[in-house]
Structures are given as structure tokens and as C-alpha cells.
């Protein structure tokens, strides 16, 4: 496996006359934990969707583990061992929590091993009390955790999370931080997020997006103290 596990070269995504992602060159190294931040409309989620295959980029290339995956369907990207969590919890509402997680584990492991993995993930994410509940009836934070369970159960080596802490209570966010660090022991992560408090607590390297392009890449402290970032977040012009 290469040291750089994910790379984009001149990645561009246009919707008609709007350039949502503009010539982005990005690298993620093995075991790295990286946050993508930026104000609303900065292009973070569009960039994320181009990585996962949900969107086909207009121009540029995506490489995952040295394999060009530009324009691949999400299922093929996922089969490379990539775990993907979308912005709005994407779960199977009519199935139970256990089934959601079991089906994710089953693709790689077979039924018996999937039973074991599902039980382990349910325990790890604190979903035991609601394991038999229908996901459609759960609260938002619980659904977020179920989706994370789906991601983790597939044993990915690269995890892409889009706003994992959105809509969660303070206690749930704390638990999410722990879970992310735990995932990061075995996998590299890209997290799209704009909750600076959350980003500070996971202490990741940061890539700042602004108007579809990369504004800067640095540590939390450096990003927080950068005037350009403040201007972008506060909407300063000129």
C-alpha cells in the first residue's frame, strides 16, 4: 500500500455555470485524520461526494491507494475498503439497528462472522438497548451512530465522514470523538465538519475550503489563528 492513500489532482466539479469545486489538489496519508472545513457553500460536501463516487467530477482525477477511481460508482469505491458516511444519516429505516449493521458486515465476512462483528459494533457504539428497534423510529443522534456502525462494520481502512456530529447532543458528541479516535487506530479519516469545537476536540490536521478551492492546510491552532480563515468564516470581503 502506498503512503498516500487518497489523492486528487485538479479536481473540478461544475454545476452549469457554478464551479463548486475548483482545481483541488489534495493528499491524505496513511493513518492520517484530516478535517475539511469551510463556510456553507465552500464546496466541502461536493468535494466529498466526488471522492465517494456519488458525483462524477467534471475534470481532474481521484486516486485511492494509487488506483484511479475517477467516475467510479459508489459501490466500487466502497469495495476498495472505503467506509462512507453521508451528511444526512443514510440508513435503512425499515430494518432494525442490528440488521443495518449486520448487512454491512455480511458483504465481506459471511453470515457467522457478520453476527460476531455486528454484536461487537453494537456494543462498541452503545447501541445495545436499541439493537432490535426499527431505525426509522430512532432519534437523529442514534441514527447517526447507526450509520457510523454501518461504516465501522465493513472494517474500512479509509473512512470518509460527512458531518458526523451534526444534530447530536453534547454527550453524543463526546462519544463520537472517542469513536473517531478509535476508528483512526486502524484507518485514515477525512471528516467534513464545520463545528470548530468538535474539530478542536479531535485535534485533526485541517484543510480549509473557500469558494470551492483549498485556502490553506495546517494544524488546528494555525488554522484558528489565521486571519484569512477568520475572514472567510466571518464573511469579510476584499
Amino acid at each position: 500500500m502506498a503512503d498516500v492513500v487518497l489523492e486528487t489532482r485538479n479536481l473540478t466539479m461544475r454545476f452549469g455555470g457554478v464551479t463548486a469545486v475548483d482545481n483541488v489538489n489534495f493528499k491524505l496519508r496513511r493513518g492520517e485524520l484530516r478535517c475539511l472545513i469551510g463556510p456553507n457553500g465552500a464546496g466541502k460536501t461536493t468535494f466529498f461526494r466526488c471522492l465517494t463516487g456519488i458525483l462524477k467530477p467534471t475534470h481532474g482525477e481521484v486516486f485511492i491507494d494509487d488506483v484511479e477511481t475517477t467516475g467510479w460508482d459508489p459501490q466500487y469505491v466502497a469495495r476498495m475498503g472505503i467506509g462512507i458516511k453521508t451528511q444526512v444519516p443514510s440508513v435503512m429505516d425499515g430494518l432494525s439497528v442490528r440488521e443495518n449493521i449486520w448487512l454491512s458486515a455480511y458483504r465481506l465476512s459471511g453470515a457467522r462472522e457478520a453476527d460476531r462483528i455486528a454484536a461487537e459494533v453494537i456494543e462498541r457504539l452503545g447501541l445495545g438497548d436499541i439493537a432490535r428497534s426499527t431505525v426509522g423510529r430512532l432519534a437523529h443522534g442514534e441514527r447517526q451512530r447507526v450509520e457510523l456502525g454501518i461504516v465501522v462494520a465493513a472494517r474500512p481502512w479509509l473512512v470518509l465522514l460527512d458531518e458526523p456530529a451534526a444534530g447530536m447532543t453534547g454527550e453524543e458528541v463526546e462519544r463520537m470523538v472517542d469513536i473517531i479516535h478509535e476508528i483512526n487506530r486502524d484507518a485514515a479519516l477525512i471528516i467534513v465538519e464545520h463545528d470548530m469545537q468538535f474539530i478542536r476536540s479531535i485535534a485533526a490536521q485541517i484543510t480549509v475550503f473557500s469558494q470551492g478551492a483549498v485556502l490553506m492546510e495546517d494544524t488546528v491552532e494555525a488554522v484558528m489563528s489565521d486571519q484569512r480563515v477568520r475572514d472567510v468564516y466571518l464573511g469579510k470581503r476584499g
Binding site: T52, I54, D73, P74, Q75, Y76, A78, R79, I84, T86, S90, V91, M92, D93, G94, L95, S96, E99, N100, L103, S104, Y106, R107, L108, A111, D129, I130, R132, S133, T134, V135, R137, I150, A154
Partner: protein
């Protein structure tokens, strides 16, 4: 295999066996056989629509294809075993190809409905134009709107002279329906079935898990087509003639109405819907005071307004609700259950 999803299957089969023996006390075998065949046809759509989320307006195409495949091959072979197999295989393959074309083409519900409906109408129009002598396959003349009569009907496998008809045809059809029901329940409880239900729930998530949702939908669609083809073959054996009317718009619409009234998300619902509405249509057809299409339409409207989930799912919900209330102290069970292949 999710064994808990099969908990009620033995009870449904036991109830089915009781109905199989009790129904002839009320109705004649000729009518009952047709109702059982309708039940199997409805079950085929109930599987792909209720569990796979694939709304097919053209289930009649596979039904008619199965009937014609049986009639043509039986007329040529003179024995029913191979024709029965062909009547399942041909609609299965055709449904797989049609499904793959639609699903890999990323067609959504409305367009899928339109395409399946159009395919059915193409069959209907085409079969109506096959009256000429050039439309002959071996010894079977397609016969245009007059259809194909006079082929070998169902016989004991290997003995073409041992016809299965009347009473024995009814019991044979009922047993086949029960076997198909059990096989479909096993399929739905298997990982393939659970993934099919997951695709119905959230196709994007299933793909993000790395599954090929389009292939699985194509296979499920083909299985539904094969079951409809089997129903068509049994119909051909019952009616002793197949006509283009099998592909008609009315036939397609009826199957959907059976499923809506009986209830999607269950297998028993569509079967019961087909049997009850099929009998009603039969009974109404024997009088001239009320137009039976009006009555069918009225039933559909009332059910959609009063029981939008259909009769059987509503009854199951009411039963579960009342059994929860009967628990000591009226306590609710912890956590609702997931969607199951109920009934």
C-alpha cells in the same frame, strides 16, 4: 438466514392447508383453481413491489409470456413437464433482461412503471396481429386474437395421458402456491432477501456498503417474473386456451389492485386480495345490474382511504396493538421490531 423472520410461516402454511380443504365446501373447483392462480400471480408482484420496492405495471407480461410459452411448447411436445419448466424459465430470463436494462439504466419508479406497461401493451398488440398462417411455431399457430387452443394440459410428469384437471388441478395449484410461498419466505429470510429489503429502504446506502443493488434488483425482478410465468402456465392448463387478453391493460391493473387492497409488505395480503377480488369480479360478472369495474374501483378507493397500508398489514398492526395492550399492566414491549417478511 434470519430464522426469526420465519416464525409465523408454519402457521400460515397450516392455515393455507385448512383453507385448501375447506374452500371446496363453499365454491366449485373450477372457480377456486382460478382464484389460486390469481393468488400466485399477485404473490409475484407482492414480492417484487412489496419487498423489492419495484413497481411493475407489467406483471401481466410475464403472466402472459408464461401462458404462451406453456401453450406453444405443450402443443409441440405433447407432455406438460418441459412446458411447465419453460413457462418459468422464459419469463424469468425476459424479466432479468428487462430489469437489467431498467436498473442499470438508473430508471426511477415512474419510468419503470411506464416501460413495463408499454412492454405489456406491445405484447398485447403483437399477439393480436398473429392471426396469419405465417405465425406458427412448430405445430402451434399463435392464432391472433383467437389465441391458441387445443394443446396438452397439465399431466402427471412422464405420463401424458394422466391429465390433472378439475379437483386434482385445484389441489395441485394450491400445493404449488404453498410451495412457492415457502420458497419466497426462505428467500426473504436469506441474506439475499434482507439485502433486497434493504435496497427497497435505501438503495444509495446499500451501494455505499459495496453491494451491486442493480444486479440484485434484476434477479429479484426475474424471480417475480418466473413466478408470474408459473401462474400463467397453470392458467393455460386451467383455461385450455391462451389469448392476447392475458397481456391486457385490465389484467395489469387488476394485479396492482389486488396487491394494494391485500396489502404490500406481506405475501399473504396480495394472495388474499387476489382471491377475494377475483371472486367478487367473478360473482359480479354473473349479473348486469352493476358494472363490476365500478365496484372494483370503489373498493380500491375505499381501501386506499380507510386502510392505506392494505387489509392484511392493518389487521396485523391491530392484532399486535391489542396483544401489547393485553400484556400485564398494558406495558409495551421494548423496542419495535424491524420490517419482516410477515405472512
Amino acid at each position: 438466514m434470519d430464522r426469526s423472520a420465519l416464525r409465523d410461516a408454519p402457521w400460515v402454511v397450516a392455515a393455507g392447508i385448512i383453507v385448501m380443504f375447506a374452500a371446496p365446501l363453499i365454491l366449485n373447483f373450477y372457480t377456486l383453481t382460478l382464484l389460486v392462480i390469481y393468488g400466485m400471480l399477485a404473490l409475484s408482484l407482492g414480492l417484487i413491489w412489496g419487498f423489492g420496492g419495484i413497481l411493475c405495471f407489467g406483471q401481466a407480461a410475464f403472466y402472459g409470456l408464461g401462458a404462451y410459452a406453456y401453450a406453444i411448447s405443450a402443443a409441440n411436445i405433447g407432455e406438460s413437464t418441459v412446458p411447465m419448466l419453460l413457462a418459468i424459465a422464459i419469463p424469468f430470463v425476459f424479466a432479468f433482461l428487462l430489469g437489467a436494462m431498467m436498473f442499470y439504466g438508473r430508471l426511477t419508479d415512474v419510468y419503470m412503471g411506464v416501460i413495463t406497461l408499454v412492454v405489456t401493451l406491445i405484447f398485447f398488440r403483437f399477439m393480436n396481429t398473429t392471426a396469419g398462417p405465417e405465425y406458427q411455431i412448430g405445430q402451434a399457430r399463435l392464432g391472433g386474437y383467437n389465441g391458441i387452443p387445443g394443446y396438452q394440459t397439465l399431466n402427471v410428469p412422464g405420463d401424458a395421458s394422466a391429465y390433472i384437471w378439475d379437483e386434482s388441478l385445484y389441489y395441485t395449484c394450491f400445493v404449488i402456491l404453498l410451495v412457492v410461498y415457502v420458497l419466497v419466505r426462505l428467500l426473504l429470510a436469506s441474506p439475499f432477501g434482507r439485502i433486497a429489503v434493504a435496497i427497497r429502504e435505501n438503495e444509495n446506502r446499500v451501494e455505499l456498503m459495496g453491494y451491486d443493488a442493480r444486479l440484485r434488483k434484476s434477479v429479484l425482478f426475474a424471480i417475480g417474473g418466473g413466478i408470474a410465468g408459473l401462474a400463467g402456465a397453470l392458467y393455460a392448463s386451467w383455461a385450455e386456451i391462451v389469448t392476447p387478453g392475458l397481456f391486457s391493460l385490465g389484467q395489469s391493473a387488476e394485479i396492482i389492485i389486488w396487491c394494494i387492497v391485500g396489502g404490500l409488505g406481506t405475501l399473504v395480503g396480495p394472495v388474499l386480495g387476489a382471491a377475494v377480488l377475483g371472486y367478487l369480479k367473478f360473482a359480479l360478472g354473473q349479473q348486469t345490474a352493476v358494472d363490476n369495474v365500478l365496484v372494483m374501483g370503489l373498493i380500491l378507493v375505499v381501501v386506499v382511504l380507510v386502510l392505506p397500508r392494505g387489509v392484511v398489514p392493518s389487521l396485523i398492526s391491530a392484532f399486535r396493538h391489542s396483544s401489547r395492550r393485553r400484556e400485564p399492566g398494558g406495558r409495551r414491549r421494548r423496542g419495535p421490531r424491524g420490517v419482516r417478511a410477515d405472512g
